[in-house]
């Protein structure tokens, strides 16, 4: 993480001094396909009623496989380690799909979460679903590692419904995009 931050800062500042904004956009686009941390999202934990929220009393949604344990409607599900928003599992989508009629944001923030079942660290992409109003169900927000807006790649207050037809935010997914490897 520290190396990544230093890298991004150096690069961002280099872009700031030398190139165009499109350059920064290209950099961000590239970063998405890398690893590490591009957290994001729009909702303050303050409005989560207790703990990290989720939705107490809601029937559990599970994967059906022991290798992917946990209730996907609850904030303590292992993939949600860096999420901030309404869980798409409660909004008509699933942990890895957007609700019908929404559009999945191509620009995402990424977390690295450890699966308690197999002990592997997975890179999780928190793609937002956009184009319908706030889902309003299963708000989940954690701020560990969250930093001020001066560092957008690690600030979860931004609305990342960017690059979509509509910037109206509906909910967030948590998609496995690979197994994280140890930084060299």
């Amino acid at each position: 993480m520290a190396n990544w931050d230093k890298f991004t800062e150096t690069l961002a500042r280099g872009v700031a001094r030398g190139t165009s904004r499109r350059g920064l956009l290209a950099w961000l686009g590239g970063a998405v396909t890398g690893a590490a941390a591009l957290p994001v999202l729009p909702v303050s934990r303050a409005y989560a009623a207790g703990g990290h929220s989720g939705s107490p009393g809601r029937p559990a949604q599970t994967s059906g496989t022991d290798q992917d344990p946990g209730d996907r409607t609850q904030c303590d599900y292992w993939r949600y380690c860096a999420i901030d928003g309404f869980l798409c599992t409660c909004c008509g989508g699933t942990v890895n799909s957007c609700p019908p009629g929404t559009e999945m944001s191509p620009i995402t923030w990424i977390g690295t979460c450890t699966n308690p079942a197999d002990g592997r660290a997975y890179v999780i992409s928190y793609n937002d679903c956009c184009g319908k109003s706030s889902c309003g169900q299963c708000l989940c927000n954690r701020n560990e590692g969250d930093r001020p807006p001066v560092r957008p790649q690690s600030n979860n207050d931004y609305n990342w419904c960017l690059g979509t037809e509509s910037s109206v935010y509906n909910c967030s997914t948590a998609i496995i995009i690979g197994v994280a490897t140890e930084p060299r």
């Binding site: 520290a2 931050d5 991004t8 800062e9 150096t10 961002a12 500042r13 872009v15 700031a16 190139t19 165009s20 904004r21 499109r22 350059g23 920064l24 956009l25 961000l28 729009p42 909702v43 303050s44 934990r45 303050a46 409005y47 620009i107 184009g131 319908k132 109003s133 706030s134 309003g136 708000l139 927000n141 954690r142 701020n143 560990e144 590692g145 969250d146 930093r147 001020p148 807006p149 001066v150 560092r151 957008p152 207050d157 931004y158 609305n159 990342w160 419904c161 960017l162 037809e165 509509s166 910037s167 109206v168 935010y169």
Partner: protein, 395 residues
């Protein structure tokens, strides 16, 4: 004519209902009926609001496209909500001292959540809360974020507004509020938020721990950029994004409680070099840290109010607080600890002769305290906003 017919029909239906009520309630002998009341009848507000009125930005998380701003009299627990303006879709609100206007920066879609996007600064009349003008912001790039006041600020004696863009490329648009037009757009890759500096400029914080002060020409175009040494330690002392202003000094607080001042009166922002820490106190587990959204406020005398969370740890900085600590920056002394009913996420202090501390809670209840003594005065209840995210004095 249709309207008249409808009114008559409505009146008739009410008249028919009356005898039923009369049968169950014993009538008293009042010699005269109640007076007829005029229709239509719409309330208005004074152009200059009383000092007990503030703007509450209702972010309305459950319907972000329908964010609002509530004009609230914190001295009136009976009828605190005086009126509303819209602040649609991750918007911002800006309150001038020099004009009887309110500015909101908003985003609309023609079909609410889809269709053609319009980013706009709406100019509201303070007395009737009607839109009196607007400035379209081109390019569909207005910064959308849980609201930081410093994404939308004044410069040039409130003649201009500065507004952040995020696509995620970062820039600032300079807007002539009087001429109703966008003057320029200044690229700011790697830097975010706006702290007005000098007569016609602003300072912005950058991801490499520097800050830059940008000065603008009379045409709104960039004239100079001065970049500091890397003194903002984002990893070890990350600063909450919204400062409290004491004159033209911006006071920030870090996640860990360091108070840091910047003099923004001149052509270049200058750190005061008088940092101090909020200190410690009993009653915390594991420790007191600032926590909430708008965690810092100032009063007219220059004291600073910091919202404190007794459960401070990594990731607790938005959880809200249960005490407000008061500091005199000149002496760096803590002068009071005010317990608040909480958790509270945002605080503000009015500019009344006897200032009030206003505390917006996680459950959307807004409570009011005497700022000098810390005594609880009254609660406005859950009556002014779904999600009171920021609170702003209206001068």
């Amino acid at each position: 004519m249709k309207r008249v017919s409808f009114s008559v029909a409505l009146a008739a239906s009410v008249a028919l209902a009356l005898p039923v009520v009369a049968q169950t309630v014993a009538p008293k002998a009042f010699p005269k009926p109640l007076a007829e009341e005029p229709i239509p009848n719409v309330a208005t507000l004074p152009e200059k609001y009383p000092a007990s009125w503030i703007m509450v930005h209702d972010f309305n998380f459950m319907a972000l496209a329908d964010g609002r701003g509530s004009v609230v009299d914190v001295a009136d627990p009976v009828n605190p909500l005086k009126g509303m303006v819209s602040i649609a879709q991750f918007g911002n609100v800006l309150l001038p001292k020099t004009k009887a206007e309110i500015y909101t920066a908003e985003t609309y879609y023609t079909r609410l959540s889809r269709g053609e996007r319009t980013d706009v600064i709406t100019i509201w009349d303070k007395a009737n809360l009607k839109p009196k003008g607007e400035i379209i912001l081109p390019g569909g790039k207005r910064h959308q974020q849980v609201t930081y006041k410093n994404a939308f600020q004044f410069t040039n004696g409130e003649k201009w507004a500065l507004i952040s863009n995020f696509t995620p490329a970062q820039s600032v648009s300079v807007v002539d509020l009087e001429g109703r037009k966008v003057l320029s757009e200044i690229d700011l890759p790697g830097c975010s938020l706006i702290y007005p500096t000098g007569q016609r400029g602003f300072t912005t914080f950058c991801a490499d721990s520097t800050f830059s002060t940008l000065q603008l020409g009379e045409d709104g175009k960039l004239v100079s950029t001065t970049t500091s040494k890397p003194i903002l330690d984002i990893d070890k002392q990350p600063l909450f994004g919204m400062p409290a202003m004491v004159g033209q000094t911006a006071w920030f607080v870090s996640y860990y409680g360091v108070l840091k001042g910047f003099d923004l009166s001149g052509p270049v922002a200058k750190p005061l070099g008088k940092d101090f820490n909020v200190g410690t106190a009993e009653g915390a587990s594991p420790e007191w840290r600032p926590g909430g959204w708008q965690v810092l406020a100032s009063d007219a005398a220059g004291k600073l109010y910091v919202l404190m969370n007794p459960s401070g740890r990594e990731g607790s900085h938005k959880d809200g607080g249960t005490e407000v600590w008061v500091f005199a920056p000149a002496s760096k002394a803590r002068t009071a600890r005010i317990p608040v009913r909480g958790p509270v996420i945002s605080i503000e202090v009015t500019r009344e002769d006897k200032p009030r501390l206003v505390a917006a809670r996680v459950d959307a209840v807004v409570d009011v305290y005497d700022a000098a003594s810390g005594t609880f005065q009254h609660s406005l209840g859950n009556t002014v906003a779904f999600n009171p995210q920021t609170l702003s004095v209206i001068d």
